[in-house]
Assembly symmetry: C2
Homo-oligomer: 120 residues x 2
DNA sequence: CCTTGCCTTGACGCCGGTGTCAGGCCCTAC
DNA sequence: GTAGGGCCTGACACCGGCGTCAAGGCAAGG
């Protein structure tokens, strides 16, 4: 499978696939032409990558998941390295949630002060 | 007050104050030298700007708040334009919270599957 | 032979708030 | 006069996941 076909099947672009390769996430072989050649399993890997990116992971975080999938596991999340990233990411997300929640409280308070001003 | 002094008093840098000016948030007068001259009220304005930025607003969102403060209000939040931004921002924040919450659920599920795998 | 369409590498653009450097003016103190 | 510090403008760097354009190779069909 050439890069264009994989890109279309994965719902993305050749540029994006080359970017993933550049960052060590996929390693296609090469035809005699120099064209990248992908086997069918890579489709699954690309889907995993895109799902993780959509969840806010950075490309570097994703490497362990891909390695785990490639090692033959049915899910990329079950390996120790992946789990470590999961825990770190969970802490990050909790931090963001705390910040956003605080901001939300301030927002709501400010809106209430407008519609129903305090009389101190 | 020159830019260096205001920067120090506001806990930021001259570069940052020039950036705010470039984006229409502050309008210092000029000495005969060409040096920017700030009066004491600007300190309050800069604090407001920085508080809003820290809460995730963009510089363009902040203009109404500054205008509201400058109009003599004790808070920058009480004017109609500010309130509109507040409501828009509240919706944004709620969106982010929803996304992050969904991600958090997935994370927790995935971690549980590791430590306590399902036996289907 | 020429077009068409895929592929290749390389490189710049974006976004936003700031850091930082370059080159030069202003003022004070020695 | 000169050294030092603050000011000025202008412009590039950053980060990250791509979009997009450039210049060129390869294959197939007319």
């Amino acid at each position: 499978m050439l890069i264009g076909e994989l890109a279309e099947r994965a719902g993305t672009s050749p540029r994006t696939l080359r970017y993933y390769e550049e960052h060590g996430l996929i390693h296609p072989s090469r035809d005699a032409n120099g064209y990248r050649q992908y086997d069918d399993g890579e489709l699954r890997v690309v889907h995993e990558i895109r799902a993780l990116l959509a969840d806010g992971y950075g490309v570097d975080d994703i490497k362990p998941f891909v390695a785990c999938l490639r090692a033959g596991n049915s899910s990329g999340h079950v390996c120790p390295d992946s789990a470590a990233v999961l825990r770190r990411r969970l802490a990050e997300v909790d931090g963001y949630l705390d910040q956003l929640t605080a901001v939300r409280h301030r927002l709501q308070t400010q809106l209430e002060e407008i519609t129903c001003p305090m009389t101190p």
